[in-house]
């Protein structure tokens, strides 16, 4: 039986929700603490959940990205094991260089991106709302084989704007199919303006993966859209699977 490790950092707060979403999709998962890097190596996939690791001190994800458990995850991801970072987990993946995942000449992951503070014309700092995202790439990943083309999903963050000091990098990532999800309207039109793009993210990108597609950093929370009762206007459909669950179901299929 393939198992998923949900990595708990000090300050993570979505580990239980992520575990429930995994279980609802038929995945077996355990919550593994950040100070158990050896234990996590026995798992077949990793989820870095949302929250505020180390209270977002300095920058969101900056401290956690230097923890020993991230060295273990870097090594395990090198064997092709899938890694999904959700919200703060995405920030940790970006700060560690696992996304976009290019290596320097010395063989170290290069930090080529950042998730900068939101640019929002009305709300400074933390912003929480429902948005729509669409698959913006045909790239095959362990997380997207079953997802709908366009679906509603919540965001909840203060630092969710994909940026790079290399002005051409985001475009390159789009061209290579690594910009997996983009913010869009309900009808699927990508509009790079608030409120469709809720945080000013570069090219309205909501999720980026590495070259092979096995490591994905996504700012929206699929675990909070795993039951229809969680989706605004859909609560009458109660316990039926929500659109976010398909991320976890895709992972289940990949691990089979």
């Amino acid at each position: 039986m393939k198992k998923v490790a949900i990595i708990l950092f000090p300050g993570s707060n979505c580990e239980e929700e992520s575990k429930r979403a995994c279980e609802s999709a038929g995945l077996v998962s355990d919550i593994i603490r950040w100070n158990e890097p050896k234990r996590c190596r026995a798992y077949d996939a990793f989820i870095l959940p949302g929250g505020w690791s180390y209270e977002d001190r300095i920058r969101a994800g900056a401290i956690a990205s230097h923890e020993g458990v991230m060295d273990a995850i870097k090594e395990e991801s090198g064997k092709g094991k899938p890694v999904l970072g959700i919200c703060n987990g995405a920030q940790i993946l970006v700060e560690s260089g696992l996304v976009p995942g290019n290596l320097s000449e010395q063989g170290k992951f290069q930090v080529e991106l950042a998730l900068a503070p939101n640019h929002n014309p009305f709300v400074s700092g933390y912003y929480c709302t429902w948005v729509n995202i669409k698959k913006a790439s045909a790239k095959k990943t362990p997380f997207t084989s079953l997802v709908d083309d366009v679906f509603p999903i919540p965001i909840a963050h203060g630092e969710g704007r994909f940026v790079s000091s290399d002005a051409s990098l985001l475009k390159k990532l789009e061209e290579s199919g690594q910009a997996i999800f983009k913010y869009c309207t309900k009808q699927g039109s990508v509009i790079d303006e608030f409120p469709v793009n809720p945080n000013g993210s570069g090219n309205a990108i909501a999720a980026i993966c590495n070259k092979t597609g096995t490591v994905m950093a996504m700012m929206p929370h699929p675990e909070r859209a795993s039951w229809m009762r969680q989706v605004p206007g859909m609560s009458s459909q109660g316990e039926r699977a929500g659109p976010g669950r398909k991320i976890f179901e895709s992972l289940r299929e990949y691990l089979k």
């Binding site: 180390y54 209270e55 001190r57 300095i58 920058r59 900056a62 401290i63 230097h66 700060e95 930090v111 080529e112 991106l113 950042a114 900068a116 503070p117 400074s124 704007r161 940026v163 790079s164 000091s165």
Partner: protein
């Protein structure tokens, strides 16, 4: 237009600075012996500088006298021994909201423009050969992201 720089520290323990300090030691910067953090504000004002300084620390938005220290000018920020400062600021406008609040609701007179950032004061052990180089490495490693921030190292 005159420039007034304000550095705001904490009277109580600064958990962010402590976390950063311990993280940097774990990363191998063992010659780093202290790390302090100040919020940095740079104001561009017209009118009476002394009156502005008096008002800006009184409004309780930037400085809460119960928990904060406030100093005007980098030279007055307490430093000792082998120290270097790293000033980290966001590229682009990061304080239009607070500027509006200070100019509007709080009625700070003469304030025309402002910038803000974080000043890190790094204390190195006496045997440190090249503190400028180490401060640069520390800044790059943890204290700022070159993708949306800039860092200036000061002696």
């Amino acid at each position: 237009m005159k420039n007034v720089e304000l550095f705001v520290g904490l009277k109580v323990a600064d958990n962010t600075a402590l976390t950063a300090f311990h993280a940097l030691q774990r990363l191998g910067f063992m010659n780093l012996v202290s790390l302090r953090r100040f919020h940095y504000y740079s104001f561009f004002i017209g009118g009476d500088e002394q009156a502005f300084k008096k008002d800006i620390v009184k409004v309780d938005v930037l400085v809460n006298s119960n928990k904060n220290t406030s100093t005007f000018g980098l030279a007055k920020v307490p430093q000792s021994g082998n120290t270097r400062s790293v000033l980290v600021q966001e590229s682009g406008d990061s304080c239009s909201g607070i500027l509006k609040t200070l100019q509007g609701g709080l009625g700070i007179k003469g304030l025309q423009k402002m910038e803000r950032g974080i000043l890190w004061v790094l204390g190195f052990s006496d045997g440190t050969k090249d503190p400028d180089k180490d401060a640069g490495a520390i800044a790059k490693c943890l204290l700022y992201s070159p993708h949306y921030q800039r860092a200036v190292i000061q002696n």
